[in-house]
Symmetry: C2
Subunit: 236 residues, 2 copies
């Protein structure tokens, strides 16, 4: 079974948790995209009705619209019942690194506005410590790019501007600095430092936000709820 099949299996399990009438946060990225497809299929089949989606990027908005999922905004629906999103790295406390797809700001806003945040990943995203497998994406306003890059280097990161000479720009018109800190010993302390920097608009540390983790791998699909240890996971 391929990684794509594992992602799809996890995302389909998550889509099955969406109930009629819900406001649903739609994450950006390849795994979350499988959930969007599945939600659209359930709507078409009549297994689901009356949901509205809050898209986390212009890309996912376009895809959802093409698939026939009604969309809304946080202005219209500031409380989201359930969000399904991917992650680039997940530690045993269900803390995450996200932002590989560049939609971290909106994803974090939607996750923060959500009652339940379901993270869907293939097993390769699990990690003993954040930072050991994935560089931390940090979104900065272009005006502050050089000063924030210097600051991030002063914290010990190897900093690479995404896109190099032709910088990648986020939906908000900002730049991403991919910051390799190696293993991040104290994610909360690092997050507080980054939060305090005026030129940093968002960073990829998603701490204490995920409520559910759904992992697909060669053993099948596991669903872990926050507070339950991984060995107590509901196997499916």
């Amino acid at each position: 079974m391929s990684v794509d099949n594992w992602k799809r299996a996890a995302a389909h399990h998550a889509a099955g948790l969406v109930k009629p009438g819900m406001v649903v946060g739609l994450g950006h990225g390849s795994t979350a995209a499988f959930a969007v497809e599945r939600l659209a299929a359930r709507l078409r089949q009549g297994a689901l009705s009356d949901i509205v989606g809050v898209p986390c990027s212009t890309d996912v908005a376009r895809a959802a619209r093409l698939l026939g999922i009604p969309l809304t905004t946080l202005d219209e629906h500031p409380i989201v019942q359930i969000t399904i999103d991917g992650a680039d790295e997940v530690d045993p406390d269900m803390n995450l690194i996200k932002g590989g797809g560049g939609a971290l700001l909106r994803e974090k806003v939607v996750a923060t506005a959500s009652e339940r945040v379901i993270i869907v990943v293939d097993g390769s995203k699990l990690s003993p410590h954040l930072g050991s497998r994935f560089a931390l994406p940090v979104e900065v306003v272009p005006f502050a790019c050089a000063v924030e890059a210097r600051y991030l280097e002063s914290l010990g990161a190897l900093v690479v501007r995404r896109g190099g000479e032709a910088p990648f720009l986020t939906d908000g018109g900002n730049v991403i600095l991919d910051c390799n800190f190696g293993t991040i010993e104290s994610p909360h302390e690092l997050a507080a430092r980054l939060n305090a920097r005026p030129g940093i608009v968002a960073h990829g540390l998603f701490l204490d936000l995920a409520t559910d983790l759904i992992v697909g791998d060669d053993r099948g699909v596991r669903h872990v709820r926050r507070g339950a240890s991984r060995t107590e996971a509901t196997a499916q």
Copy 2:
């Protein structure tokens, strides 16, 4: 003597602290504008040379360019020797509320990158406690406007979107929520909460950033340095 004259006197004193060869942060707003005019006059008179300015808004960039002050960016000069900026409210610890002019994000980035931050105000801006005279400006991404307004209300603020139905937009394309908290008892605690919200790009609490305060009022100009109590101020 009018308020404008007091502002001008304070700003001229600050402009006199700029030395040849310095990178100078140029604040936004009516008081800082007097400093920009004075710097330009000193350049024309030959009393100053070889400075470059880092403007905190497109407005001040335009004004400085018209007046003949050479400009640069933080990418070219990530360390600023001296910044001259105004404030909307100043407490006895030299902490500030800024953002009445809407340029708070760039002003905070430039202040953070500066070795010396000189705040110029007329005496009406002095306040025993932040929040007692001025609502706190909070800059939010449009996507998160409703959820952040709800959050700010949950902290006890009366929240008004600047510009109402025709929202004011910052240089970064964001919205300003003017938040009346009344007296802010713990500015550092409030700042940490606001820093942690993903949809809040910047807020007007400038804490531990000002190194010098120059106040113009009917008693003349007083220059207070951080760490010196106000009664030890150098009168001029």
